[in-house]
């Protein structure tokens, strides 16, 4: 992927500030007050620069998918700001958002479910054109064929149905559908986690090629650390709805500062069996607290080996500690894990 690391003088294409997404669990009785609130995302901030890949990692339920969905207003932000090319997205009407969607697309996790089984592949790929009124009978088929070639599919399969394709091929179809409008930003919601490992590499390399060719910025949501490491320029780590650490890939993997990142990295297996045997694993105690009732202060404090009184009382800010390495911890300390 793009090799140059983030340059702060560039303006971000996607800028998220203090994003909060709460889900209200509705009571089954009408007119009753909502019984509980799920704090899915709680004050996340990050920037995505043109042409780069920002990896967003974290365990299931930490809010990374919700963050991605909020970008496209598939999940409604409770508060905060999402700016695309300087334009505020939160509170936009459906119509106004439609214009933005042409530049902001998403590839979904499930390649089997994200294609309409009753539509041919060509129809699915052409749908964005039709929705945005850009389909013409003269140019449309050519654009579809071009998009299919870009993702390594033979255009003659345009008239087939999704059930005739493998998972990897379907994910390519999903990517073609997202690409056909030439978006500036692509949100990749675990694009390879549903695929076989052998197929993953193909799709990831395809994404890298496409980025190089079209200069698209990726927000790559994933839980597989090795995939994220391979793909990303920068990596953000999420825990229970908050970003705890965000840094250039090399920095983050070589010198993680947040205790959660350190624990996460220490859990990723190493290819070298000798190194794997020698290294120290950080075992976290307990489970992730429920997002309906998150801990006060630092959300990680209930499981953090360094937790002090201050952690329960004060929410640690995400502070840049040099070289664009921001950490949200009262006691940050670089530690070599891998």
């Amino acid at each position: 992927m793009a090799t140059d690391s983030t340059d702060t003088t560039r303006s971000p294409v996607l800028s998220v500030r203090d994003l909060v997404v709460h889900f209200q669990k509705k009571s089954s009785l009408p007119f009753a007050k909502p019984t509980s609130v799920v704090h899915a995302v709680c004050g996340s901030s990050f920037d995505l620069f043109p042409g780069e890949t920002l990896g967003l990692v974290g365990e299931s339920g930490c809010g990374k998918t919700t963050t991605g969905r909020a970008m496209l207003q598939l999940a409604e932000p409770t508060s905060g700001s999402i700016k695309f090319d300087g334009q505020e997205l939160v509170g936009l009407s459906r119509k106004e958002m439609g214009e933005i969607r042409q530049n902001l697309q998403i590839v979904f996790q499930d390649p089997f479910g994200s294609l309409d089984p009753k539509m041919t592949v060509g129809q699915s790929i052409a749908e964005p054109l039709a929705i945005h009124g850009r389909w013409t009978d003269e140019e449309g088929p050519g654009l579809v064929a071009e998009a299919m070639r870009h993702v390594g599919l033979d255009p003659k399969f345009a008239s087939r149905f999704p059930n005739e394709f493998s998972g990897g091929q379907r994910q390519r179809i999903g990517i073609a559908r997202a690409l056909i409008l030439n978006p500036k930003v692509l949100i990749l919601d675990e694009p390879v986690s549903a695929l076989d490992v052998s197929v993953q590499a193909g799709v990831i390399n395809l994404l890298a090629d496409l980025q190089e060719k079209f200069g698209i910025a990726y927000l790559m949501i994933a839980h597989d650390l090795s995939v994220v490491r391979h793909v990303s320029d920068r990596v953000a780590v999420m825990y229970l709805g908050r970003i705890v650490e965000i840094a250039d890939k090399v920095d983050l993997y070589s010198a993680p500062q947040h205790p959660y990142t350190q624990a996460l990295l220490s859990a990723a297996p190493l290819a070298d069996p000798k190194a794997e045997r020698q290294r120290k694993r950080i075992i976290l105690e307990g489970d992730v607290p429920s997002p309906t009732n998150p801990p006060s202060g630092c959300r990680f404090r209930t499981r953090c080996p360094k937790a002090q009184d201050i952690c329960a009382n004060e929410i640690p800010d995400l502070i840049d500690r040099g070289q664009n390495h921001a950490v949200a911890c009262h006691f940050p300390e670089a530690m070599k894990i891998i």
Partner: protein, 298 residues
């Protein structure tokens, strides 16, 4: 989207849901028999009514004659040719059934789609209306309403509209349930993420994916409509002479069921055969559209 024809540009054969369903359907001997009988009745009724349009209104001097060459189904007490009546009545019933099932299809799908897709308050209100129509026995409403309508002449169209207006509840519930499940599918979200309007999501994605359920139940509504109309006519609340329906003939003939049984058994038998045919066709479609069945049937 009519972007690509169903046939591939390179000419290869494409397996659509329809072609799969039709292929399954063609293997279903029961359903094919049903269709064959149904079509034969329809053609005979059409031809007979066209060749002899006054068959049912021409009085003869043959009063209550048993079936013969001249009157294959016999005649009524008042000397009318029963075969003309039965076929005309069957045709009338089928026209009513088509109107009813079209109405049920349109209203039921629309209400079910809106309730299932948008949910919330709209869903609650619509479903309470459906509940209301379902708890009050349909026949009671029909009897009350048809009394009002009958004063206007009890025309077949009025009866059809009346039944149609009350028969969509079942389809709407099924479509709603189907939509509730479908709208959670990722491809619906994908379409919304692309910026598709609700109208587009419903018409391009949800309805095509629910078409099996809709088709099958529309077919079954045809049978229900025929039976309902017959019940109404039997009760003397449906079609009024000079129009004729099978239910009306059954009602007329039941008094003579022991003395001149053909007056009862021919219209009743025809009614039974038609309804059976429609049920068998509906069953066949159900099996044809259900992919789990496709494998079992091979």
């Amino acid at each position: 989207m009519s972007i690509f024809r169903k046939k591939g540009r390179s000419g290869e054969k494409i397996e659509t849901q329809w072609s799969t369903a039709m292929r399954n359907f063609r293997k279903d001997k029961m359903a094919l028999t049903g269709i064959a009988i149904f079509v034969i009745i329809l053609i005979v009724a059409l031809v007979q009514t066209m060749l002899n349009p006054k068959g049912w209104s021409t009085l003869t001097t043959d009063f209550a004659k048993p079936p013969s060459w001249h009157h294959p189904f016999g005649t009524t007490d008042s000397g009318l040719d029963l075969m003309s009546g039965c076929l005309k009545g069957a045709l009338q019933d089928l026209i009513i059934a088509v109107i009813v099932s079209t109405m049920a299809l349109v209203i039921g799908t629309a209400v079910g789609a809106v309730a299932g897709y948008f949910g919330g308050l709209l869903d609650s209100v619509l479903m309470r209306v459906v509940d209301l129509l379902l708890v009050v026995p349909l026949l009671t409403i029909l009897i009350v309403m048809s009394n009002i309508f009958s004063s206007g002449g009890g025309s077949p169209l009025a009866i059809a509209l009346l039944i149609g207006f009350l028969s969509w509840t079942y389809i709407s519930r099924l479509v709603r349930a189907e939509f509730l499940a479908l709208r959670e599918r990722p491809f619906v979200e994908a379409s919304i993420a692309l910026g598709a309007s609700s109208w587009r999501v419903i018409t391009r994605h949800l309805i095509p994916n629910a078409i099996g359920v809709i088709m099958v139940n529309t077919t079954l509504t045809v049978a229900g409509a025929i039976l309902l109309e017959s019940t109404l006519s039997y009760l003397g609340l449906g079609i009024v002479p000079p129009a004729v329906s099978l239910g009306m003939l059954v009602q007329d003939g039941q008094g003579s069921a022991t003395t001149s049984p053909w007056q009862f058994f021919f219209p009743a038998g025809l009614l039974l055969i038609i309804v059976l045919c429609v049920f068998v066709i509906g069953d066949g479609m159900q099996a044809a559209f259900d992919p789990r069945n496709a494998r079992r049937r091979k």
